[in-house]
Amino acid sequence: MSAVDERRSGPGALASLRLRYSRTFGMAALIALLAFLSLYPVSMLLFGSFHTTPPGVAGAFDLAGYREVFTSETGLVLLNTVGISLAKTIPSLALAALLAWIVARTDTPARGVLEALVTLPFFIPPILTAMAWGMLGNPQVGAVNQAWRWITGSQAALFNVYSYGGVVWHMMQYSTPFLFLFIVEAFRAMDPSLEEASRMCGASQGQTLRRITLTLMLPALTTGFLLSFIRGLENFESPLFFGTPVKIQVVTTLIYDSINQRSVPEYEFATAMSFAVLALMCLLVFWQWRLLGARSFQTVTGKAYAPRLIKLGPWRWATFAICVLFFVVAVVLPVGQLLAGSMFRFFGFYSWDMLTLDHWTEAFDNSDIRRGFLNTLALGLAGATLTMILGGIVAYVSVRTRWQGRRIVDILAWLPWMMPGMVLGVGFLWGFALLPGPVSIYGTIWALLIAYVALGTPLSTRVMSSSYHQLAYDLEECARVHGAGFWRTLWSIVVALSWPSFAVGWVLTFFGIMRELSASILLYSAGSEVLSVVLLRLWGNGQSEVVSVVGLCTMALVLLFRWAQARFLARAVATG
């Protein structure tokens, strides 16, 4: 027997075989898990879209749901959705680009503070700002309109938040900081040599900005536009609050109404509609991939450019004012309204005899709020951790290995990106209701956890992929050459170097869970209510004053987390 044969049949071959089997088993388990999180709800949607009765009720199969989807009435809702999303994305992108340019490329004072202030609305649950704007922009008694009447003496309202404009306005407050976060790093990471060349060739600052800076930014701006547009199609809170009362419907509110606001829930239509939305999203994402290739999500890179700051002279105070104005409108006004709302007996009636602290006592005594808060916190902590671990594993497999099946893993992890929370919620509602055997998930807190992990996985995967891309392969090889095993290498090299990205992704996912409403509203039950659902119910019950108290406490929590994130992450990165 040759030496080679000996190795093949010896303990080394056995270990290699064991490793291969355990890898195959691990990949199969990972694919099964991801399929459960993404393919299962999609297949349940497909099943439900042909099924004539609600889940759990015997029925037949037909095409009635799709026939209803392809009507002019539903088409109009679809057009409405696309129109609203476009209407909010274009101004949001322009504003975000302006703010990002101010913060990253000009000598505007206090840029670091301004950046923190401009991004703050991204972390505030939209349901809270929706409630605040419901009070601020009310045409009769809203504070903004009252102030307008007082200043101008006009009888007419400045604006009515219950309108198309109101829906777009509220969506902009979330999408602007989202786009800002996306674009600002691209501004910072820009190679300044082209701009310098332009200036040296005699172009003015304005010409350079238009012809060079914005042209260089085009990929980031296009990606941001598409992502924000897709998110706009998925939006639920803004049309629910400001569109539904004036009969403005979008696909998410139509799906929700079909299940919850009909005498007999129209599941067949709701699932057919969800499936149609899913198909539309697939087309959009495919278009995004074709258009942008692998550039998506890669604005945060390790390039060490230091673009020259543009000196604005006295205009720097104007740019400073623009940033502050955005912060005032997007944060100070809603927070101020919530504060006022919490201190008066009835919202909209501001007189000394109506001042009270009863709503604070009521909010802290309310067991529903307490339970909703604790559930949200537990789901946020567990959900963010699990999502990031899963994202870390998926990203590792697809970026740093050549294992068979890694492409499937990548696609399955990406699939929920195409599913709005409402669509995924409908899919899981069907899926959990029809789970075979003794497994009972529907109506438990696990249903929410699973949905949150599914919704968060695309983001966590991208965050971790970006991080792994920046790690040189020779570090791992070096560790292996020095005798470290697979797990030791993984822990000492990959985990040790990528955990700051893990932490950033964790915070984003945590706040994503804190914000989530559209899937939660379909999957919660008695005992598993989350804060956003409790707040929506309180609002619907006319308890806007108590909602204000909870809103303020939540915002305090957001600030605390932001402060901790900035403090501890900055320290970790500095010492890492």
Partner: protein, 341 residues
């Protein structure tokens, strides 16, 4: 009063075969063992359509204090509650113990032969006043009646409506906020009752007033108080009882008030059946019914209306116009969709 109650009796008679008063009057000999068992169960889950009503919370808190048993409530509109119960039970999840919901919803669940189980007798059912009675599946809880909410700053006293017909005045066009009459709920109850009791063509004329529909009943009353609209219909009397101090007034129209009978039913495979019984019995205590009466509801126990506060009595004993029935529901809903496109 007797005349008002006769109307209610007529509606209940339509439930015909389901009404079996005899079990309700039976003495519950082993009640102390039910109490002991309930204390062992330790908690109860109620699916209610109280929509955050303070009087519901007050009675629940009194129960928790009295027995040391925790009450969890899932508080939703009737149509959402029924759908949740259906889906949960289809998924094999039996979370809720008891529901507090309109009688037609329970009737529908009984017809479906699912979702609810027979309700064992509770001692306080013996105190139900005529014509209220328990059935095999349901125990009456209270009457929720509807009127018109008026903003007193937008509507002068001499213009305030006295009849449902007064809402048809063209000057109120675009100024009426209404619970959506097309899906199930208070709006559809009002639609059905007014369709039956008001002169022909009433709804067609009301539709020409360009009603604005909403589904947030409690919040909608606030919107009228804030002056967004002059009227809100149908205003649950009890939901207006906590708006004292605001420029609103509730009108009980001369023709009478459409109403819904709210009842308890025991959900199938309820995890805490004894606590559910104990809680229902507690809701039928005189003190609990007085809380409801003082919040402008009509109680189902005798001798309560007389003890209610002066401001509450007109509503607790208001003239009732009629209730919606299960049999007529599909036709009425189709008609509502046709008239209020």
């Amino acid at each position: 009063m007797a005349a008002k109650i006769r109307l209610a009796a007529l509606a209940f008679a339509m439930a015909g075969a389901l009404v079996t008063a005899a079990p309700a009057q039976a003495q519950v000999s082993d009640w102390s063992s039910v109490v002991q068992a309930a204390k062992k169960e330790g908690s109860v889950v109620v699916y209610s359509m109280a929509l955050g009503a303070p009087y519901y919370n007050e009675v629940v808190r009194a129960f928790e204090r009295k027995y040391g048993i925790k009450v969890e409530s899932l508080d939703l509109r009737a149509s959402e509650l029924v759908e949740r119960i259906r889906t949960e039970q289809a998924a094999g999840r039996f979370i809720g113990d008891v529901e507090l919901i309109s009688s037609t919803m329970i009737e529908e669940q009984v017809v479906a032969d699912k979702y609810v189980q027979k309700f064992p007798a509770v001692p306080n059912a013996a105190n139900l006043r005529q014509p209220f009675a328990t059935t095999d599946f349901a125990v009456p809880a209270y009457i929720q009646a509807f009127g018109i909410l008026v903003n007193t700053q937008l509507v002068k006293p001499e213009e305030q409506p006295k009849s449902w017909s007064d809402l048809l005045d063209p000057k109120w066009k675009g100024k009426i906020l209404s619970d959506d009459m097309r899906p199930l709920g208070s709006g559809s109850t009002m639609f059905a009752v007014l369709h039956k009791e008001m002169p022909a063509g009433f709804h067609e004329k009301l539709a020409r007033q360009q009603l604005v529909f909403s589904r947030d009943m409690r919040n909608d009353a606030r919107r009228v108080a804030r002056g967004e609209y002059a009227f809100y219909i149908p205003q649950v009397f009890a939901f207006a009882s906590d708006l004292k101090g605001l420029p609103v007034k509730v009108v009980a129209p001369v023709e009478g008030a459409p109403y819904a009978l709210l009842e308890f039913a025991l959900l199938r495979n309820a995890p805490h059946p004894n606590t559910a019984r104990l809680l229902v019995n507690h809701f039928l205590e005189a003190e609990s019914q007085l809380v409801y009466a003082n919040a402008w509801n009509a109680p189902v126990i005798g001798g309560i209306v007389e003890r209610a506060n002066a401001d509450a009595r007109p509503f607790a004993e208001s003239k009732l116009m009629g209730a919606a029935t299960l049999a007529e529901r599909p036709g009425m809903m189709e008609l509502a969709r046709k008239i209020y496109k």
